[in-house]
């Protein structure tokens, strides 16, 4: 069994454990490459079905192509899609692009806060209705106690300390020092009432693993990852005002793999195009303590 097969099998195993263990489970889909790999793993784990809703937090500053790709896949794969948003902040222009907040504050408002309220169900959220083929506001939005997240240990410091099943208490706090043990393939799937759990099926994947897997499985990804002729491409996707493309002429997945493993990107951090990381000293610690994924 090769490395990718091992990573895949482990990811599927974790997804199945999560599905069995949580009454109310959802999976975050940021439309980026990592969570898209996660979605593919879910389709494999459940043989073409994704038996829990996907959640996307739309900051309204996403690159339009990401949204159209999202909705295309939702229809094609019959996904149960929930979209949440901090409508009030957007309406009041409490954002970085509108000049009222710095980047970190903006992330907290439009992503962390929106995510928290979308998951708890106390803000209105949209759900895709396949019959009407459009998003409609969800009635009686229920809270999710388990959230599947596509974070990787190699992304940055705090993420490398994560457990696969990572409990947060009722206040959302993460006790880094006292994390429960995980033995062999036994993960902690029992939690006291009120515990909120994040599940990380691709924790031990690297950026290169992700691209090699996308190549092997032929997973469709947003074309923003490729150079469409102007010598630039996105390495990491976020909001348009805070994510900039890198100089690269990789036009397809295999060229990205080459670029990462032996080419110009070898040894260069992935999130170099993300401005909010720089304001956070590169660690995302401020954001992650407050619920950022």
């Amino acid at each position: 069994m090769d490395r990718l097969q091992k990573l895949e099998s482990n990811g599927i195993y974790i997804l199945r454990e999560a599905y069995k263990s949580f009454g109310s489970l959802c999976m975050l889909w940021s439309i980026g490459k990592d969570s898209t790999v996660l979605l593919h793993l879910a389709r494999k784990a459940f043989f073409g079905h994704v038996p829990f809703p996907l959640v996307h937090i739309d900051t309204s500053f996403k690159i339009p192509e990401m949204i159209s790709y999202r909705d295309k896949m939702v229809k094609e794969w019959h996904l149960d899609m929930i979209v949440g948003q901090n409508k009030e902040a957007i309406r009041e222009k409490e954002t970085y692009p509108d000049g009222k907040l710095n980047r970190i504050q903006c992330c907290m408002k439009l992503k962390s806060e929106a995510l928290r309220h979308t998951i708890s169900g106390d803000w209105p959220r949209l759900r895709f209705d396949h019959k009407q083929s459009k998003y409609i506001e969800e009635k009686d939005a229920k809270p999710f106690s388990g959230v599947i997240v596509g974070v990787r240990a190699d992304e940055e410091g705090t993420r490398s300390k994560e457990r696969v099943f990572s409990p947060r208490n009722t206040e959302g706090n993460w006790n880094i020092v006292g994390q429960p043990p995980e033995l062999w393939n036994y993960y902690n799937t029992d939690f006291a009432p009120g515990t909120h759990v994040r599940i990380h099926p691709i924790l031990e994947w690297t950026e290169l693993d992700i691209w090699e897997y996308i190549e092997r499985e032929k997973i469709p990804v947003v074309s923003l990852y490729f150079d469409n002729g102007c010598g630039k491409r996105y390495r990491s996707l976020g909001c348009a005002p805070c994510t900039s493309p890198i100089i690269s002429s990789a036009k397809n997945v295999s060229e990205i793999v080459k670029e990462l493993s032996s080419g110009s990107l070898k040894g260069i951090a992935e999130r170099t195009g993300r401005e909010q990381d720089k304001e956070d000293g590169g660690t995302l610690e401020t954001l992650r303590k407050d619920g950022y994924m």
């Binding site: 490395r3 099998s9 043989f47 073409g48 940055e156 457990r163 902690n188 092997r216 260069i268």
Partner: protein, 594 residues
Amino acid sequence: MKKDMKNNKQRLSIVMVGHVDHGKSTILGRLLSEAGALPKGKLEQIKEYCRTNAREFEYAYLLDALKEEQAQGITIDSARIFFKLEDKEFICIDAPGHVEFIKNMVTGASRADAAFIVIDAKEGIKENSRRHGYLLSFLGVKQVVVLINKMDIIDYSEEQYRNIAENFDSFLSGLGIKPLEYIPVSGRNGDNLVSLSDMTPWYSGPSVKEAFLAFSNYSTRLEYPFRLPVQDVYKFTRLGDNRRIIAGTVETGTLKKGDHVKVFPSGAESTVANIETLYPPGPDEVSAGIATGITLTDSIYVKRGELLAKEEDPPSVAYSFRVSLFWLAPQPLIKEKKYILRLNASREAVYLTDIISVVDSSELSTESNRDYIGQYDISECILSTVKPVAFDLYSSNPYTGRFVIIDQYEISGGGVILETIGSSHIDKHVDMRESAWRKNQISPICRGQRFSQKPQVILFTGKNLEELDRYAKELGKRLFNKGWNSYYLAMDNLLRGIDYDILSSDREEHLLRLGELLRLLYDTGLVVLTVIVDADIYEIELLKKISQPAKLMIIDTDSNLPANMSDFKLERNADISVLDGLLRKKSIIEEYNI
């Protein structure tokens, strides 16, 4: 072909363990630096940091600093460090040395392909050196290299090196660990890390880097018989899908399409119809390590927790077993308390029934006559489950012979199964209860005769509680109206009564209490009616055992039980009078006047 070669590249998982301050971070920091596995400029940056902060540079800072700042494509952290040596990929877990972090250490080590144990040459073998050795053997880490560090402090004394190596070797051999190497090193000076040092001319190798490169990820999983713990059974009916897929990861061995498989503990059998995948057709074969799903040719009763195997190589099935167990939680493991056992995919109620011995994991001194198992103790003890579980003895298949115990919502201990034990916890309890039972002067049979009946328990099971409730009530009333003495023990009355102190989800406890009540009610000579929603075969067996000497009559409405488990299959919306014949035939009621 070339692509396959590339994807075939493995990533070895290595754990570094050892007592606190014995130098793990220094060795790793310096090794990565000297082997060129660090990002450019990192070393200079840390040196600069030390200069401006009035600190003497140490290689450990390199690792610690990298924990904070991870901007360069490799990530280094106390939990997981990704790096390459000569194009071979590693993920290294730098396990904390403090005893408080044992649970982090076992988390990392339980999935490691190989381990380094670091020992301070001057301090010698310490508490955690032994404990970590013990845990590695326990966790099944086969490849171990011992690094005797800080050789510079003892003037590179070959004698002292040999002394420690010999002592530790005899300790480890007692645990069944044969280290591949004992390497004398100095993390601070870099001796024998990347190349052999002139300071130890008496040592001929390998270096630590060579030891890294020599580790293999050889797995024995394929060599054991086929085992697939059933993780779930899926039936997604959306989009016209009508497959009933048994999902799980093949733990050991290989399975082919068309193979005959048997489910344990239930014993049901069928043949593999198809190996399912996202895009059909699936492969003809799956082997160990692969997360898969299969469909069977017969719709047999299979559920999560069971173990799929082939008939010619069956696993063990038991209620009670002797184990070697390591306890991690601060609260002790005690007798007569209910815990949850997770064994392969099953999770069952489990009790500690006997402690044979307790070993202090740091000293390896054995104590018997202990009545609890404390934090970091290793114990040989007997565990008993309420329902039977399927597994292999650790000696015959380590991958399906290990388990964890859940207490207070957390993995609190882990262990391996050494031997199965004959009778179960429940058997013993029933034997003891019956031998001490104080009989009434009037026997249950005698009491029953007053009403021309035999004392009997009639149990309805099926998917729908309301339906079961209605059947049991109707039959109870019908019997009573005809002059027999019957009583309906409703599930709700138990849950709000005798079961008030347990969770409604605690089925085992509910069944145990129900069984005791049924035994008592049987003694009164009654015909007792009761219901259990969706009972499985093990629950029926359990209830039969615990309610002895009462004999249970099982009326199946629309349950998943195999046909031979029930005495009568009641059709949907059936008239309850169809049961009269059965009761008469079994001489439960004596006259034919219904």
